[in-house]
């Protein structure tokens, strides 16, 4: 009997396989190097442009003329080669691929480490670098070592102010920053039924912070109903009994709001242990927590109040921004004194808008708090949306109230 990764890749763990890739995508950062490597391989055509996407999200709109020139070249190529192209403001690559594109059972490869996010659909989704991606553009295939899997059993339901993000931080701290290296994390157990697609995307998003190759959920009714909203139909995947190299039990009801302390994602503390630490900036967004449900949650908490520190909110995609505008969520966020950024990665990677200064502290809903990631000498605490909202209102790390 096989794990879901073994089923999708068609071989037992440990074997090397060549697999056709169903979807492959790059962003404005990795796309530049991919295009270069593809040209150096001889520019001998593209496998199937309809499966290839170029999505501008990392530095959008361009911050200076060097970036603009690099983006111009990639844009010209993408539009001229009939790839799927999403220009500035369309959203973060992983989010765009989650809006009715990726289907259960697919092999998905992105030139970005958080491509594991898309395992939420029951796809085998993983990140590669630019040169690997260039070879995929050329041949439509790549090699994989079929990973062993770690089973993460979820039980129960989230309670109080806890969010999927807190569950994610909790498993990262239990496994450690290399505890999942070369493995796939399979999220299983009765508790998975109680998680929405947005919550599954959060859990798969942080898989790479343990070094894992993939995070994966079995496609079920929640998956098919979500895809139906985009007029996509898909089958469900039934779990077979299988061997895990390690198993982890998580009782969702026992999860409390957590914060990852800089500079490591696996060093977490309960929010109340850190309460009172002053912050200079709060950032809500990214491929972890920039979805509509996140913005709506944030708006519910700050509605009718004013934030006490500079607060940047960046929707993960144009679709998210549009929905937030339609429902009034955006108006509430703006009225609370927050700054809205162009859909995309925003300040997450420290390359433009929202960069931290020396000695500044940011509480962010992102997935990485490495040294200097958001600016030289800045410290990043990672937390949930509710913790970010409570912290924004007080100007210091604050435990979220029960909604």
């Amino acid at each position: 009997m096989s794990t879901l990764s073994e089923r999708i890749l068609g071989a037992p763990a440990g074997e090397y396989v060549d697999r056709k890739v169903d979807r492959a995508y790059v962003h404005d950062g990795t796309g530049v190097l991919t295009l270069e490597a593809w040209k150096r391989m001889g520019s001998r055509g593209l496998c199937d442009p309809s499966c290839l996407s170029v999505i501008f999200d990392h530095i959008v709109p361009a911050n200076n003329s060097t970036t603009a020139t690099l983006q111009h070249e990639l844009r010209e190529f993408a539009t001229g080669s009939f790839l799927q192209f999403s220009d500035i403001g369309g959203g973060i690559c992983h989010q765009c691929m989650s809006e009715g594109v990726v289907l259960p059972g697919e092999v998905v490869v992105g030139a970005d480490s958080h491509s594991c996010t898309l395992g939420a659909f029951g796809a085998f989704a993983t990140g590669v670098g630019a040169t690997d991606m260039a070879a995929i553009w050329l041949t439509g295939e790549t090699w994989f070592r079929v990973p062993e899997s770690i089973g993460i059993h979820l039980d129960g339901t989230l309670t109080g102010a806890a969010e999927a993000k807190d569950v994610a931080l909790s498993y990262v701290s239990r496994l450690g920053m290399d505890g999942g290296s070369y493995h796939a994390l399979e999220f299983i157990g009765k508790g998975t039924r109680n998680l929405t697609m947005d919550e599954r995307l959060v859990l798969c998003n942080l898989a790479v912070e343990t070094g894992a190759k993939a995070g994966i959920f079995y496609a079920d009714r929640v998956t098919t109903e979500y895809l139906a909203r985009y007029d996509r139909s898909a089958g469900q995947q039934v779990q077979e009994p299988c061997e895990y190299v390690q198993e982890l039990e998580i009782d969702l009801a026992g999860i409390e709001p957590l914060v990852a302390v800089p500079p490591r994602v696996d060093t977490t503390k309960p929010v109340h242990d850190l309460a009172g630490i002053p912050v200079d900036q709060v950032f809500v967004g990214t491929c972890t927590n920039g979805r509509y449900s996140d913005l709506a949650r944030f708006a519910r908490i700050v509605r009718g109040k004013k934030v006490a520190v500079r607060t940047i909110v960046v929707p993960a995609s144009r679709e998210v921004l549009g929905e937030a505008a339609r429902t009034g969520v955006l108006a509430d966020i703006i009225a609370a004194g927050c700054t809205i950024g162009t859909p995309g990665c925003g300040p997450c990677l420290g390359a433009h808008m929202g960069v931290l200064g020396e000695g500044e502290v940011c509480l962010s809903t992102a997935n990485r708090n490495f040294k200097n990631r958001m600016g030289i000498g800045g410290d990043i605490y990672l937390a949930s949306v509710a913790t970010a909202a409570a912290t924004a209102l007080e100007g210091e790390i604050t435990e979220p109230g029960v909604p």
């Binding site: 090397y16 950062g29 990795t30 530049v32 190097l33 270069e36 490597a37 150096r40 391989m41 001889g42 001998r44 530095i59 060097t66 970036t67 690099l70 030139a111 970005d112 480490s113 990140g127 590669v128 670098g129 630019a130 040169t131 690997d132 260039a134 070879a135 050329l138 090699w143 070592r145 920053m177 290399d178 290296s181 070369y182 070094g211 190759k213 490591r264 990677l349 420290g350 390359a351 990485r368 490495f370 040294k371 200097n372 990631r373 030289i376």
Partner: protein
């Protein structure tokens, strides 16, 4: 594939953000990555990398998929990186751009000579030989070709 160089010792969980910071990514000029490699970890490191074999702790290259991290090391003259384990995207990237990676735990003394032979599967540090986890035949082919670009140039 054989090689040798002076040891530069590093710790565990060296992430790609500290190998090359996000602020230096928007360029195609490889010399910029070589000039700023490890800048946020220790600015004195870059000048010591020419002809070096980096000997690091577990999980080298974790974090972002940026290939500039591997390219920056190669461009600054690093001969190979030795570590008990590597983050998997960094692992593929390094092989793909022709930078040998050696999965082993030989211990490290700054400045001493480290030798390795990937085909025979050993690494020698401070005169002591340690076994190396073997690369797959395809990875060795890619390394011998000088990277994936060269590999495909020949193959197609």
């Amino acid at each position: 594939m054989r090689g040798a160089g002076h040891a530069v010792c590093l710790g565990t969980d060296i992430d790609t953000d500290v190998i090359i910071a996000g602020r230096y990514l928007r360029t195609k000029d490889r010399s910029i990555w070589a000039a700023h490699v490890f800048e946020d970890l220790d600015p004195a490191l870059a000048p010591r990398l020419s002809g070096a074999v980096i000997v690091a702790g577990r999980n080298f290259g974790c974090g972002s998929s940026r290939e500039q991290a591997a390219i920056g090391l190669k461009e600054s003259g690093v001969v190979a990186v030795v570590a008990p384990s590597f983050a998997r995207i960094f692992f593929r990237n390094a092989i793909n751009i022709g930078l040998p990676l050696i999965e082993a735990d030989p211990g490290c003394l700054d400045g001493t000579t480290v030798r390795f032979d990937l085909e025979s599967g050993w690494v020698e540090s401070g005169g002591k030989r340690s076994p190396v986890r073997p690369l797959s035949p395809r990875m060795l082919d890619i390394l011998r070709a000088g990277g994936l670009v060269e590999y495909w140039k020949v193959k197609q």
